[in-house]
Symmetry: C2
Subunit: 131 residues, 2 copies
DNA sequence: CTATTCAGACTACAGATGTAGTCATAACGC
DNA sequence: GCGTTATGACTACATCTGTAGTCTGAATAG
């Protein structure tokens, strides 16, 4: 997985369209191209060629693995959702908040992006962190 | 400023290179193109034409205003840093965390991206929010 | 066995982005 | 007033991203 990790932190990033495909496969994999399209094409307004392109690019980026199944491939993520999401979060914090999380939190609080459930959850996490 | 706000939330986004230019002008404005270059060119490895292009694109996007000063322009942000940063934060949360902030917080906590100062600050903010 | 199908491989193109070069001219300096 | 200069306007090109079309042939179906 080390090589895969390099891909994530290197210059090849997963684009937003590619992320939508990854999300579908994180939820359920392995899947064929047609199955992925069933999952995302209606909601994204894509057609099958689009999905196939994105899958192909993700394979080239090392984010997906392929397993032949008859004449088609079964696609499986090599890049974990957790890894991707963590990288993107950290990147935003570093890029816009000087690497500090508190200003981000303040920003979200100010935008009323924090629900009561969020607050309760964060408090619980803070308590755990103090142990 | 309403029109400007539309620009931010519309399809025209500020790219990363453009953001670097904005950051320089948020720190100090108005500035001329040459002054902006003095600020960012060495650190980014850019030359003057690059900065000029980015400034020009930002003006076209409505993020910067120009004021003639002799044969050159003084550039001033129309898009506030606060607005931009808030939009990007919200966008990440919506895109990767289903619109919920707590999972983002948990992610940052897990990545050891939270300093003790961050935690203290967040606790303070939580207390204020409960008033 | 044959006809059909479907999915990967390959291609296309527009727009966005990153980085930079060229040129004309109004402003500047002497 | 004249020569110089700096800067905006315009252009260039490579890469990335978004979206999709075409084609071939191996797998599939009958």
């Amino acid at each position: 997985m080390t090589a895969n990790k390099d891909k994530e932190t290197g210059s090849e990033r997963i684009s937003e369209a590619e992320y939508a495909v990854m999300e579908a496969l994180w939820q359920r994999s392995p899947q064929t191209a047609a199955e992925v399209c069933d999952t995302v094409c209606e909601e994204r307004g894509w057609s099958m060629p689009t999905v196939k392109t994105l899958l192909s690019r993700l394979v080239a980026k090392g984010a997906l693995a392929t397993e032949p199944d008859g004449r088609r491939f079964l696609y499986t993520p090599l890049l974990e959702r957790h890894t991707y999401v963590g990288g993107e979060s950290k990147r935003l914090v570093q890029r816009l908040f000087g690497g500090r999380a508190a200003p981000l939190f303040a920003q979200l609080a100010e935008n009323e992006a924090l629900t009561e459930e969020d607050i309760a959850e964060i408090e619980r996490l803070l308590r755990e962190m103090k142990k």
